[in-house]
């Protein structure tokens, strides 16, 4: 054994090997770099490139890219497009991250409890998930937005509440196999409470599934924000997000105002691609089954 290991490369822990796989995955690195650049662009950009995104400027509307002082042009009410991409991006990314995390927390707890308790409770809890999945998210979002006035916190809650179903199913499946492990049985034998078993043992052991899925949830949430805006139920001006920018640009497609559509659209596609590739990379890192490769 010793003679063999002398010539073999130094052994690495599974985590180190996972990290190498993750960094070796060019897509995942692309994802992280892209997100970092977008965060700098959206949150630090306005400090370097301040623009008025509240008051309209009706003297300089629909200026094409390259116009004096407006590198990406202006929109139909005179907002600077480059500055608006930064402000809109803040909202899109903020809602995406918050809604993705919210969906993951709800789904994880729901799935872990259903799988751990089992029996009739599990059956009822999973039928609730089935019922939620039977209603398309866009339909539910439209109804909820029709009932309530759209705002950033509301959109986070609404998207979070329509997106927790898939993580709930995934975590439940793992929870079922984890609850009969020795360390959970030992905890119970020593008088540990059920909530301790779920929160300290079941949930931490599904962390791979949870983290991978959370990343995909963020990507999906950013897309859902765009869909809500497209369907006319998004934030009202002067607030905006990339989806709302893209949507208000649709009217001017035939006027040839490509700068009102493509910059915002490309921002959405790049961000969603980035989160999806980080998710793929993390799936290799944790070596779990998530979305189909």
């Amino acid at each position: 054994m010793s003679t063999v290991t002398l010539s073999a490369p130094p052994t690495r822990s599974p985590r180190q090997r996972g990290l190498r796989r993750f960094l070796g995955n060019r897509l995942a690195v692309f994802g992280i770099v892209t997100i970092a650049l977008f965060l700098i662009f959206c949150f630090l950009g306005p400090l370097v490139y301040p623009t008025d995104q509240v008051h309209t400027d009706l003297k300089s509307t629909m200026l094409p890219p390259g116009a004096a002082g407006h590198p990406l042009g202006t929109d139909d009410v005179g907002y600077d497009v480059l500055g608006r991409l930064m402000v809109g991006g803040q909202i899109s990314i903020l809602i995406g991250l918050a809604a993705g995390v919210l969906a993951t927390v709800i789904g994880t707890l729901w799935g872990a409890i259903a799988g751990y308790v089992g029996g009739a409770v599990d059956a009822v809890m999973m039928r609730v998930v089935d019922a939620g999945i039977a209603i398309p998210a866009t339909f539910l979002l439209l109804i909820l937005s029709a009932i309530m006035r759209p705002s950033v916190p509301l959109m986070i809650i609404v998207i979070g509440f329509v997106s927790w179903l898939v993580p709930a199913r995934l975590v439940r499946a793992e929870s079922i196999s984890l609850k009969s492990r020795e360390y959970v049985l030992a905890l119970r034998a020593m008088g540990g409470t059920h909530s301790r078993a779920v929160l300290r043992h079941i949930v931490p052991n599904t962390v791979g599934t949870i983290v991978v899925n959370a990343t995909f949830q963020v990507a999906d949430a950013i897309l859902l924000v765009a869909y809500i805006s497209f369907l006319g139920m998004g934030l009202q001006k002067p607030a905006t997000d990339w989806g709302a920018m893209l949507t208000s640009g649709i009217t001017y497609t035939y006027a040839g105002a490509w700068w009102l559509i493509f910059p915002a659209g490309v921002c959405i596609v790049l961000t969603v691609c980035a989160f999806n590739s980080i998710g793929d990379g993390l799936r290799d890192f944790f070596d779990v089954k998530g979305r189909n490769a």
Partner: protein, 337 residues
């Protein structure tokens, strides 16, 4: 799902042949419970939207207090909430989805006129998408790790991450505005025949819907084919001298298709959810557009009627998917026999 089902399956000590029927009965029972839960969600949403009941929506803003009270008494909206829910369930069982606030007609009529057109658009998009996605997935699996696989994987990855209305918009700009090949407007009309009479107008809506489906299903097909290519029966067939194309055609494709076909049943709600975007982008007169305009005018009975129709379709779809999978793949029958 399977662990509990297997546990339940073990408990039902039915003779071998009838276990499939037990399984089927249990799945139908589950489906009915899911539909019941959907009615509960729908009813709760209706109450959240209209705590005072639909009187003002139906009678208009100018309705007097007496008119509203008379309407509520007549239609049972003065009863306790649980009784209203039971009445609502009774209506649904009779196939009565209520009356639209704005369209001046029963909800079932409005949906009945729009649903066939959505189904036609969805069916054409799905067939076109599968005709491309299945060969694409097989090709990628066979050429795994080669340039072609990378190009197609990247393409599907980007399409998957693109909002479908942005995708549709790009298609409109390129094929309608620049090249003038096809119209940007979907065909209008009341019946399916009206819509099918102008196939050129269907090209862009179908392409928009199909691109998204291709991105999803070619991924499934690729990974299912890769899994099957490493199976022992492939090596056996190759060892017996069967050529690679024949092994793929005769064995691998058949086995890889099973999970993909099963996916179709579960894909229904996603499909309907996507249709609302495609229909509102191209102004296609289907159920998605009906839902969208009803959301703009707060026509809640229509919104909830659409959701009930889709939920029932989804439950039936996933049931059919399970049955088809059992019929196509004898191994999955083992789970309940």
């Amino acid at each position: 799902m399977s662990v509990v089902e297997q546990a339940q399956g073990a408990k039902t000590k039915a003779p071998n042949g009838s276990r499939f029927w037990w399984y089927l009965l249990r799945r139908i029972g589950q489906g009915l419970i899911v539909i019941l839960l959907v009615t509960l969600i729908v009813f709760a949403l209706l109450h959240l939207a209209l705590p005072e009941g639909p009187a003002v929506g139906v009678l208009g803003m100018q309705a007097t207090q007496e008119q509203i009270e008379a309407f509520n008494r007549e239609n049972g909206f003065d009863l306790p909430v649980w009784q209203q829910y039971l009445n609502f369930l009774g209506q649904l069982v009779r196939g009565d989805l209520g009356d639209s606030f704005k369209l001046n007609r029963p909800v079932a009529d409005a949906i009945g006129q729009r649903l066939p057109k959505t189904l036609v658009l969805a069916l054409i998009s799905m067939l076109v998408a599968l005709a491309i996605a299945i060969p694409m997935g097989i090709l990628q699996a066979v050429r795994r790790g080669k340039l072609l696989d990378y190009v197609l994987t990247t393409w599907n990855f980007v399409v998957y991450s693109t909002p479908s209305f942005f995708l549709g918009l790009i298609l409109v700009v390129v094929f309608a505005q620049w090249l003038h090949l096809v119209p940007a407007q979907a065909p209008q009309g009341d019946t399916v025949a009206d819509v099918l009479a102008k196939p050129a107008g269907l090209v862009l809506p179908v392409a928009t819907a199909a691109l998204g489906i291709i991105a999803t299903f070619s991924r499934y097909m690729r990974s299912a084919t890769i899994d099957n290519l490493s199976e022992d029966y492939v090596r056996t067939a190759r060892a017996k001298g069967t050529s690679v194309p024949v092994v793929i055609r005769r064995h691998v494709v058949r086995n890889s298709l099973t999970p993909v076909i099963a996916m179709l049943g579960y894909y229904l709600p996603v499909m309907f959810g996507g249709m609302i975007v495609v229909e509102s982008l191209f102004n296609y007169p289907g159920m998605g557009l009906l839902f969208w305009t009803s959301a703009q005018t707060s026509d809640y009975p229509v919104l909830l009627g659409c959701i009930m129709v889709i939920a029932v379709a989804t439950v039936v779809g996933s049931l059919l998917a399970d049955i088809i999978q059992a019929l196509l793949d004898p191994r999955t029958r083992g789970e309940f026999s």
